[in-house]
């Protein structure tokens, strides 16, 4: 029982099938450039970046092609050497058209990356934060929050612990797993930058116990003077969520609506950390990321370095998919979104591509039943909400009541409730609709 409350794990949560075996042991490989890359200008939360290139301009791989628009925004870099074909709209993941830079790689484009001004390890925190922004680093776990924006402790507050999220609780995905195995030194370098930027005294890398090799590998190479420990956590979804991870590792609970900084902690994804360690010493920006491409419909499953902006259809063609492909998810199956079409490009937040065939589709042919108030969702919800009641209220469009009395805004859409719901009620979708309606009502 003690383990439930202390460091170990958070309460509630679910245990979806992990389905990581197919790719966990496959080293990261490189994917070729697509004939046309589509780099959306808004791959992060916040203001879209502002293009600094013209149509027809030639760019070199790694060269900045867009600059941040304000603090809550990051720079973009050319994922390949080539010509800017157009700056226009491209299909985004939510089905909407978003501004993007169309880049046609040159036929002989190499993997060579141009270097910028390196950021030294002994730079001031402000310099590091700025460098991270200029490197275009956003949370690679999927949320896409500009990393530099959360490094500064709040006014009057402080951060004592830096948490590196190597949990990767989403089923199917092995991106972070491979990064931990293959980019250990980058992670430690990144950690040094982050510790310097935040002023945190120590760092903890949290790894779920289904990745013992990663934990052991990190431990072995741990530099002596780095105040970093590696904690192995039991497997549970959604342990990768900031608040859950902080509770699991520190036993601190972030209050509703609060940030991790309010409990003096900061969470950074392990892949993001590695990327910082990889880019900053060379003054580079993000041009590619590690993506797990897997799922029953994929022939050559694996972990790939994928250039940002690679359209889904090219990616799937390259790895080969079954003919009866029916659904593709960007990110994991729990929190990722379904791709509306195969024109959608890989962005910085895309940690995985999971493709299903019609046969294997996990949620097709489900009939929605009325809520029978079984309470499974209450036992699943890591935020201790009452999804059952929220779902009923949502169905009756009582959105205000959901927010006022049932803490709708604490829901971070992990999907644990809908996962366990025996009535197959699309709870998360209803909550999203409700939140959108509330935002709209508030705005008007």
């Amino acid at each position: 029982m003690l383990k439930w409350f202390g460091a170990g794990s958070f309460r509630h949560g679910v245990h979806p099938p992990e389905a990581k075996d197919a790719t966990r042991d496959l080293p990261i490989r490189r994917l070729p450039f697509a004939p046309l890359l589509v780099v959306p200008l808004s791959q992060h939360l916040g203001r879209p970046s502002i293009p600094v290139v013209r149509e027809g301009q030639q760019v070199v791989r790694g060269e900045p092609i867009a600059r941040p628009d304000g603090f809550l925004s990051v720079a973009m870099h050319a994922p390949a050497s080539g010509v800017v074909k157009a700056i226009g709209l491209a299909p985004g993941i939510a089905g909407r058209m978003l501004p993007a830079i169309y880049l046609k790689p040159l036929p002989g484009s190499t993997q060579e990356v141009v270097e910028g001004t390196p950021c030294p390890l002994d730079a001031t925190p402000e310099q590091i934060v700025h460098a991270i922004q200029e490197a275009g680093v956003v949370g690679l776990g999927g949320a896409g929050f500009p990393t530099h924006a959360k490094l500064r402790p709040p006014e009057g507050g402080f951060i004592d612990t830096l948490i590196v999220n190597g949990v990767e609780c989403e089923p199917y995905l092995t991106t972070d797993h491979r990064v931990m195995l293959e980019q250990r030194e980058d992670i430690f370098t990144g950690l040094r930058f982050l510790l310097a930027a935040t002023g945190a005294a120590r760092a903890i890398i949290g790894v779920e116990e289904n990745k013992p090799d990663a934990a052991a590998h990190l431990r072995e190479g741990l530099p002596e003077k780095l105040p970093v420990s590696i904690e192995v956590l039991p497997v549970k979804y959604p342990q990768g969520a900031e608040k859950m991870l902080i509770e699991a590792l520190l036993g601190r609970r972030v209050p509703p609506g609060g940030l991790p900084a309010s409990v003096h902690a900061l969470c950074v994804n392990v892949a993001t950390t590695a990327e910082i360690g990889r880019l900053l010493p060379h003054g580079r920006g993000i041009q590619e990321r590690v993506v797990t491409i897997t799922g029953p419909a994929v022939r050559h499953k694996g972990n790939y370095h994928v250039p940002i902006g690679t359209p889904l259809h090219f990616l799937l063609e390259t790895v080969g998919v079954e003919d009866d492909l029916s659904r593709v998810f960007l990110g994991g199956p729990m929190m990722g979104s379904a791709a509306p079409c195969l024109d959608v490009p890989i962005t910085k937040g895309t940690s995985g591509v999971v493709a299903f065939t019609e046969r294997e589709s996990l949620t097709t042919q489900v009939v929605e039943h009325p809520c029978i108030r079984c309470g499974y969702c209450l036992d699943a919800c890591p935020m201790f909400l009452d999804p059952s009641q929220l779902g009923l209220l949502a169905a009756n469009e009582r959105h205000q009541e959901m927010a006022d009395r049932h803490h709708l805004m604490s829901c971070f859409e992990c999907g644990a409730c809908a996962y366990v719901c025996p009535s197959h009620i699309p709870l998360v979708q209803r909550f999203r609709v409700a939140k959108a309606a509330l935002r709209k009502a508030k705005a008007s």
Binding site: V14, P16, P171, K243, R253, P255, P256, H313, L316, E317, L325, S326, R327, V328, F329, P333, M334, M335, G336, S337, A338, A339, P340, C341, L342, D343, V354, S361, L362, T363, V366, H369, P370, C371, I372, R373, G375, Y376, L378, D379, C381, F384, L385, D386, S388, Q389, S410, G415, A416, A418, Y419, V420, C421, P422, S423, H424, P426, V428, Q429, R432
Partner: protein, 341 residues
């Protein structure tokens, strides 16, 4: 091959579902009820079979008709009505006229469920609504008990079973008292072993406590039943009756008797745990169970009726929205002092 403009099926996350399905849950409840049902038929013979079949059929047909009437797709598939029918049948006395069984089935499903909007909307357990209706409508027939293991129980039927519709039930032969009635009005206690195995007079399903517990254990093991509800009920009933028995042994039965007699087992394990009518939180379920237990003891000890499980559960059903209102999970990270909105 993969075309760039291919439109895919869109659905919001999560894209994985656990194996839980309403149908599976309901199927398992039926499965858990089977030993009790089989034992009831073995104890009471042909009449029990007929009562159960009639109960099931009337409930299923009513649900089908209600669906047709309100232009809903048939909801027979979700299996919840089958449970209602089976549970309802198990609460009836073995010799009840079949026409009354059918009336109760129609009332239970129509009034206890369809009127409120079907599955998930019924605030009360439909099987108990049906039984309470019958108890109020035909009190004599509902309290005429036949002993188990009667001679020739598979070859003959009591006259009451086949009473023509709307006619009085002729109670023929021996009409036994249930152990509870015998204890309450006659001061006699049945042997615990008889109670546990079911060799006593009573409703079809209130005979064997052990088989009911077995079914309950199956459901608990499969996470398809909230164990807190029966535990709450058993704890309070055992505790309160132990206290009463200690204070006044001559007028109050010992806890073992209280637990295994009457409909307590069936009610606690299968009726009170009906997910729709019970609270959703763990603490709420414990409280709900405790409330049922307390009501059962109060009604049994001081009320006019020998048995109070049915009323206790119906009353607790009515209280359960309040329990859900008062006991809500405290949202993650909220400090206790802040209180609950």
């Amino acid at each position: 091959m993969v075309g760039p403009t291919r439109i895919l099926e869109i659905r919001t996350s999560p894209h994985l579902l656990s194996g839980h399905r309403v149908e599976t849950i309901m199927f398992n409840v039926v499965l858990a009820l089977l030993p009790t049902t089989a034992w009831a038929i073995w104890c009471f013979g042909l009449k029990a079979l007929l009562v159960l079949v009639t109960a099931l059929a009337s409930c299923l047909l009513t649900e089908r008709a209600a669906c047709a009437f309100s232009d809903r797709p048939s909801s027979l598939g979700d299996g919840s009505v089958a449970i209602t029918g089976l549970l309802y049948g198990l609460t009836l006395p073995p010799g009840l006229p079949l026409w009354m069984v059918a009336v109760g089935g129609v009332i239970g499903v129509a009034m206890g469920k369809a009127l409120f909007g079907g599955l998930g909307a019924n605030p009360f357990n439909p099987a108990l609504v049906a039984r309470a209706f019958l108890q109020a409508a035909f009190p004599v027939a509902m309290t005429s008990w036949l002993p188990p293991f009667g001679p020739d129980r598979f070859g003959s039927l009591p006259a009451s079973t086949l009473a023509p519709p709307f006619s009085r039930a002729v109670v023929d032969g021996w009409s036994g008292a249930t152990p509870l009635a015998a204890s309450k009005f006659g001061g006699e206690l049945s042997a615990l072993a008889d109670l546990a195995t079911g060799a006593v007079a009573g409703s079809l399903g209130e005979t064997s406590g052990l088989l009911i517990l077995l079914g309950g254990a199956w459901l608990v093991a499969r996470h398809m039943m909230n164990w807190r509800i029966p535990v709450g009920i058993f704890t309070v009933v055992a505790g309160a009756s132990a206290l009463l028995h200690f204070v006044a042994p001559e007028s109050h039965a010992p806890p073992g008797f209280m637990l295994f007699s009457g409909g307590l087992m069936l009610g606690a394990v299968f009726m009170a745990t009906d997910m729709v009518g019970s609270p959703v939180t763990g603490a709420g379920c414990l409280l709900y169970g405790a409330l049922i237990g307390a009501l059962v003891v109060v009604i049994r000890a001081w009320g006019g009726m020998p048995e109070g499980v049915m009323y206790a559960i119906l009353l607790a059903n009515a209280v359960s929205p309040h329990i859900d209102r008062w006991i809500r999970p405290r949202v993650f990270g909220q400090v206790a002092a802040e209180g609950d909105g």
